[in-house]
Amino acid sequence: MLNKKSLLYIFMLIVFVLGACAPAATQAPAASNVKELKILWAQWSPADYLQQIGAMYEKETGIKVTVVQEPWGSFGDRFNVAMAAGGTEWDMVVGDSQWLGQGVTAKYYVDLTDFMKSNGIDKSVTPATLQYYGEYPSGSGKYYAFPTEGDADGWAYRKDLFEDPANKDAFKAKYGYDLAVPTTWAQLMDIAKFFTQPDKKLYGVAIYTQKDYDAITMGVENVMFSYGGKWQAADNTVQGVVNSQESIDALQYYRDLYDCCQVPGLNNAFFTETNDAMIGGQAAMIMNYFAFFPALANKSTNPHADVTGFFANPAGPTGKRAAALGGQGISVISFVSPERQQASLDFIKWFAQEKIQAQWATLGGYTCNINVLKTDAFKNATPYNPAFSETMTFVQDFWNIPTYAKLLESTQRNLSAFVVEGKGTAKDTMDTIAADHTASLKADGVIK
């Protein structure tokens, strides 16, 4: 028989062991306790597709996934303000690529580097999308987002006009080569001029000109990057880089294209207006993000859907091709509990699988998965997928550091003044932008 003292010792030992085990049990993230995951995204079709992906995840795991959709106009404001307050209303956000610096430096996002590397997710997506949607700082090898909705600028064009024998003959007689999808920006200019026929209420192009947020910058970038222009050198220097001869020539090209061939009235145009120009039969070619091309391939929204083709950005004078990046990556919010973070990582791991990415693409999502992008199934799924697949290998982006909004404001203002208003010269404009960028970067300690 054990005496009372021994019983007390055994009781204390049991309590100690249980006590020692209990914290260990709560420290280990138990994702199974999470019944619902909430993802914030903008209000648009891809968010609906993600909701369908979420329904599949719920079917497999029992964890409900809700995609909270916020209109584009207030998406950034709502997210940033909630994060500043340490908000936990969402577990994940499919955030804009330009927010990455702010999200990382303000510690909104969980570091996904080890998670992505250990699960091979970093190798499953195209390098450019990993760099621009996930990596911060650029070249650091640190990842904070999984490339979710790849997007970039491309072109839609009227195949019937391009294939019309009379047009083909007239074009060849005038320019000395065959009328076809342009392979260089110079050819695109010729074609735009050729199709600018005001008496027929037809114009060569509809390109981005909107000043409000980032549209005209994205439009100019398409040409600027292809011409070899950049926003910064490797050491973040901007003087002599932003206002390089390549960038100046590219800006002059964009202005010339606007002057000669833009659909009249499109002086503050973004994705809606350029699509409308194609739907209304006013433009032979329009610039837009691939995410907005489904409306052009749909007969119920575009009477010219059957004769609308798509192509990727043409090459610059040296043969370089580039496209302004759109799209977003999914990040895990650092303010939610470790348990919810783990559940979010589990979802991303599941979502990143090739078979799920293939389904994401089938639904209409723009996957960044290398293998899925290469498949014939993907390329044949829509008329614009081949151009998209090609484009995602040469995307480039604007700054994504926290100073980006200040840099963008000056860029938008000056580009709009030169291209739309017709004020000043391309050189003056790029010199002013370079000076403004230098001042902003110095003020924020990015450069000395």
Partner: protein
């Protein structure tokens, strides 16, 4: 007796004082929480480098923000643009509003319906108005140019791009926005002037007719002085609103092309939101705008009081 009533009623009824308190305190609390506190807190933020998204406490920078604003040439340009906009917009609204009031003052068949129709623009959201005027200004299919006799879009004004026949025409976009603002708010001036016109006693005109006064003399010596106080109130309201103009401009031009329609309120929004979230400097700018508006309002009120005194 009354003391008994009071004590027995205390359990069943609230005293007058308690009822007064119940009405006053919630309102006062809401007023302090929603108006007074933000007013003073934003003033405090104007002296800091606070950003609403930085997750950092505000750091006191003294008058730095105010000094930066007052030394920023770009911002003074926006103030000048706003001044030009307010001057053009309020002047035209006053002229058109006065004219409309004189028109509908006369009794004629369908006058009531016409007055109601004239008031419709005021009832529509400025953003919606901006969007459909954008379509009307479109050089290819908008009917504004068509009404002006421009058939060929490449030889017509592109109003919101500040271009005429492809060539830059500075100021055109701002004037295009002014036209729309006048279209929306001239009826407001008309309403106030109309109420003033209807209050003018008939005997003043009858006496003028007996004295063989001309129509112009009647207008200059009777109508205008009698309506002046209400007209000044309309001008005061419209000037304050013109300095705060945001939604219409944002919907039509986004402040462009370049900075041609970048009114100070649009720029304030750009600094406070749109990715920048420069809350401290934006608060300082908001206070500078407030001071400008108060100064202009005081000038009007001074003239209003003078005009009342003369009347």
């Amino acid at each position: 007796m009354s003391a008994d009533k009071g004590s027995s009623g205390k359990n069943r009824h609230l005293s007058n004082r308690a009822i007064v308190n119940l009405f006053i305190w919630p309102t006062l609390f809401l007023l302090i929480a929603m108006n007074v506190f933000p007013l003073f807190y934003s003033l405090y933020l104007g002296f800091t480098n606070y950003s609403a998204i930085a997750r950092q406490a505000p750091v006191w920078v003294g008058f730095q923000n105010f000094s930066n604003i007052l030394n920023d040439k770009q911002l003074w340009e926006y103030f000048a643009t706003t001044g030009r906009y307010a001057l053009m917009s309020v002047s035209l609204q006053t002229l058109v509003g006065f004219g409309l009031a004189m028109l509908v003052r006369e009794k004629f068949k369908g006058g009531g319906i016409l007055t109601t129709l004239i008031l419709i623009p005021m009832m529509i959201s400025p953003v919606v108005v901006g969007l459909f005027w954008k379509l009307m200004y479109n050089p290819t299919f908008g009917f504004f140019n068509f009404l002006l006799g421009f058939g060929n879009p490449s030889k017509a004004p592109d109003w919101l791009a500040s271009r005429f026949a492809g060539q830059p025409m500075p100021g055109l976009a701002l004037f295009a926005v002014v036209i729309v603002d006048v279209w929306i708010w001239a009826p407001f001036v008309m309403l106030l002037v109309l109420s003033g016109l209807k209050a003018i006693p008939d005997y003043l005109y009858e006496a003028a007719v007996v004295d063989r006064a001309s129509s112009w003399f009647q207008f200059w010596r009777i109508t205008l002085p009698q309506v002046a106080p209400l007209l000044l109130i309309a001008v005061l309201f419209r000037t304050i609103e013109a300095f705060k103009s945001f939604d219409l401009v944002m919907g039509m031009t986004g402040g462009g092309p370049g900075s041609q329609t970048e009114l100070i309120a649009v720029n304030l929004y750009r600094q406070a939101f749109l990715g920048q979230f420069r809350t401290g400097p934006a608060s300082a700018l908001a206070y500078i705008i407030l001071i400008v508006i108060i100064a202009i309002s005081n000038l009007y009120i001074k003239y209003l009081n003078q005009s009342k005194g003369e009347g």
